[in-house]
């Protein structure tokens, strides 16, 4: 039925790459004054982009190069359309649409342009058929997105943006280096499945890994996402890392090392998330953990696991946006996302709380919520891979994510200690504005619909799906896992073991470059400065002494000057003349 409605609309439209839709919308926006017009452009660009993707997916054949372009002797492939690209294209368009509803109140020009160019670049990268096009869009996402951090316009945000940009640009430069080496080795710039081996492929892998927040390369994520504006973080959470997941799924499916990288990624962030105070940073850690599941899926590389990665990326973008939206709504009213300063908000912000709980249930993979039908594809694939260690880590990480995202976020934001009871409750924040509730409501509805009716999503996946998520065993075991995690939370709270939310900074591996390396450089600088100073002092002293001594010897008052007879020069001239005479005699 949907096809019957959409096909005539799409065939009546000129075919334009979806990325160009966003670029054109940005160009158009430059001529539209701030107000409803701009907000409508921001809303319509993702809709038109999704329609274009639909057109490319149905009207044109899949897999072809739909937009060849000659550039410096290379054939670029601007539109490579297949099912893997399409599902990411759709979800990126949907995420941009939902974020634009949520950001309806934003009247900040840089943020509006950044949103369009960022989403456009991400979608462009998804359809890039060659590494050069990918590189251009890859850098596009980096440059556009940093303005969402700088839009906060504080000193801290400025520095954080700088750090973010350095990491993102580094990823792009490494990608370009890898691309050049690949071209030298193979003579091709096609962006297809690669095998790790040559330096070029390793560099490309590293570039993807930086954007995907691999362990030890992850800090930019937790550093920068809590530093953006309220709406900026919602937008940031959707694109960069999932673009990297897409790139890995396209370039390195079945690369075994990804299984272990992914498993590590699911594991370590949950420890940090438990003790982190800033709830947006808790979400950034859990985002990192969810990326781990997707990376494991890519590493296993079976049809089931790759389907799992694509499905999980789709669901994840929705529920993670929803969680960032709900915490953002709390920030919009209270000015903070710190667990230690929130609590008791359910009274006046109950609908925000409800949407947050739906997001939490989805990320925790409760049956009937979206995470359940996508994460289980990956966990089942890992079990079928018979790797008990990875499987055990994934199950633990599933319980852990419920613990810190599913329980901690709603509990400390909306319940726990009531921090707004003073002044007779006069300072209790009002419920989030209508447009935010609307954006959260639509996203929450999608999370539930996908959870209850997974088939439409399964139909979008790259491979045909032969998987039934709702089996008795799966539902019961998942509920056991989650409810016992909740019970553990309850026991730890009642016994007072659960760590309270404290105003704090937790050191992560970024300490090495933000503190240790800085101290090391300062230490070396101090020593070098000292050595240089001592050296120059020594040389000065030696020179001064030498000059004085020479002066005392040869100066007008010197010993040598005094004892030399006036006739000594005449004698020397006579000797020289004699020597010359002898030499000329000998010569003859």
């Amino acid at each position: 039925m949907l096809d019957a409605i959409l096909s005539p609309i799409v065939s009546a439209m000129p075919q334009v790459p979806p990325a160009f839709v966003f670029m054109m919308a940005a160009a158009l926006m430059a001529f539209v004054p701030q107000g409803v017009g701009r907000s409508l452009i921001l809303l319509s660009a993702p809709i038109l982009s999704a329609l274009q993707i639909y057109g490319y997916g149905t009207v044109s054949p899949l897999g072809g190069n739909h937009m060849p372009m000659e550039f410096m002797g290379l054939t670029l492939e601007l539109m490579r359309v297949d099912k893997l690209a399409i599902i990411f294209g759709y979800i990126f368009s949907l995420a941009a649409f939902l974020a634009s509803i949520y950001a309806w109140h934003v009247k900040d020009t840089p943020q509006q342009f950044a949103t369009l160019l960022y989403a456009g670049s991400a979608i462009g990268a998804v359809f890039a058929g060659d590494l050069v096009t990918l590189f251009v869009y890859w850098e596009g996402t980096a440059i556009a997105s940093v303005f969402l951090i700088w839009a906060r316009r504080t000193e801290g945000a400025y520095h954080t943006g700088q750090r973010y940009l350095i990491v993102q640009i580094a990823s792009g430069v490494i990608l370009l280096a890898g691309c050049v080496l690949m071209y030298r080795d193979t003579g091709s710039i096609a962006f297809d499945k690669m095998t790790l081996g040559s330096l070029g492929t390793w560099l490309i892998f590293l570039a993807f890994g930086i954007k995907c927040a691999f362990p030890l390369l992850h800090n930019w994520l937790q550093d920068s996402y809590p530093a953006a504006t309220i709406t900026g973080t919602v937008i940031l959470s959707s694109f960069t890392t999932k673009l990297a997941v897409y790139a890995l799924a396209r370039g390195f499916p079945g690369t075994e090392i990804l299984i272990y990288i992914g498993a590590t990624m699911t594991l370590f962030p949950i420890f940090f998330a438990v003790i982190e105070n800033d709830l947006r940073r808790v979400l950034a850690y859990s985002l990192n953990n969810q990326l781990g599941f997707m990376v494991v899926g890519i590493g296993i590389g079976t049809e089931l696991s790759l389907n799992g990665t694509a499905a999980h990326a789709f669901c994840h973008i929705l529920y993670k946006s929803l969680l960032f939206m709900s915490v953002g709504a709390v920030m919009f009213r209270t000015g903070t996302a710190k667990g230690s300063e929130l609590g008791g908000l359910y009274k006046t912000m109950p609908y925000t709380m409800l949407f947050c709980v739906i997001g939490a249930a989805s990320i925790s993979a409760f049956p009937l919520f979206s995470g359940f039908i996508s994460k289980s594809l990956i966990v089942t694939a890992s079990a079928e891979n018979h790797n008990w260690l990875v499987w055990g880590i994934l199950v633990f990480a599933s319980a852990g994510v419920f613990h810190h995202s599913g329980i901690k976020i709603p509990y400390f934001a909306f319940f726990a200690h009531d921090n707004f009871a003073h002044n007779g409750g006069k300072n209790r924040p009002k419920e989030a504005p209508f447009h935010m509730l609307l954006a959260m409501g639509i996203t929450a509805t999608l999370c539930i619909l996908i959870g209850v009716f997974p088939e439409p999503l399964y139909a979008l996946l790259p491979y045909s799906v032969d998987y039934v998520p709702y089996t008795t065993a799966h539902v019961i075991t998942q509920l056991q896992l989650l409810m016992f995690s909740a019970l553990a939370f309850g026991v730890l709270m009642r016994t007072g073991i659960y760590p309270p939310e404290l105003k704090s900074t937790n050191l992560d591996t970024d300490w090495f470059y933000r503190k240790f390396l800085v101290s090391l450089i300062k230490w070396i600088r101090k020593r070098v400065k000292l050595i240089f100073f001592m050296g120059s002092l020594l040389v000065t002293i030696i020179l001064q002494k030498s000059i004085k001594r020479l002066y005392s010897w040869y100066g007008p008052e010197g010993h040598v000057a005094r004892v030399w007879p006036t006739g000594s020069m005449v004698i020397w001239i006579a000797i020289l003349l004699a020597a010359t005479l002898i030499v000329s005699f000998l010569k003859v």
Partner: protein
């Protein structure tokens, strides 16, 4: 604050007012025991269905429940211990981070239930 002397209660959304039962003194215990009973029920369900297991350990009675409980408790205890090593003041990286800064006013709209209403504004002017 108990629910009876909340002067702004009438302004709370209906869902918020309805949920205020969680502030009753025995509510946390009630929720906890409800969760515990659900857990018990879920464990007992293990007796009545067949698992399609990939690993032997999955066939253990109530494996998923106990695994979830033990690992989560371990997670929290380990994270709490981590605090001893990695926790620093909020302004540790200041002024290069946003953590110790106020959120800029232009990016928020801090309306409260006790916000000055138009009528109050007029009184202020008078």
């Amino acid at each position: 604050m108990s629910e009876n002397n909340d002067p702004f209660k009438s302004q709370y959304p209906a869902l918020g007012r309805w949920l205020m039962w969680v502030e009753k003194p025995n509510a946390p215990a009630l929720i906890f025991w409800a969760v515990a009973i659900i857990c018990l029920g879920l464990i007992l369900l293990d007796l009545v269905y067949h698992k399609h297991s990939h690993f032997m350990i999955e066939d253990l009675f109530g494996f998923y429940g106990f695994y979830g409980f033990i690992m989560c408790a371990g997670l929290v205890v380990a994270a709490k211990l981590m605090r001893k090593i990695i926790m620093r003041d909020e302004d540790y990286y200041a002024p290069y981070v946003v953590d110790s800064e106020e959120h800029p006013k232009f990016d928020m709209n801090p309306e409260t239930v006790g916000s000055i209403r138009p009528s109050d504004n007029e009184e202020d002017k008078n």
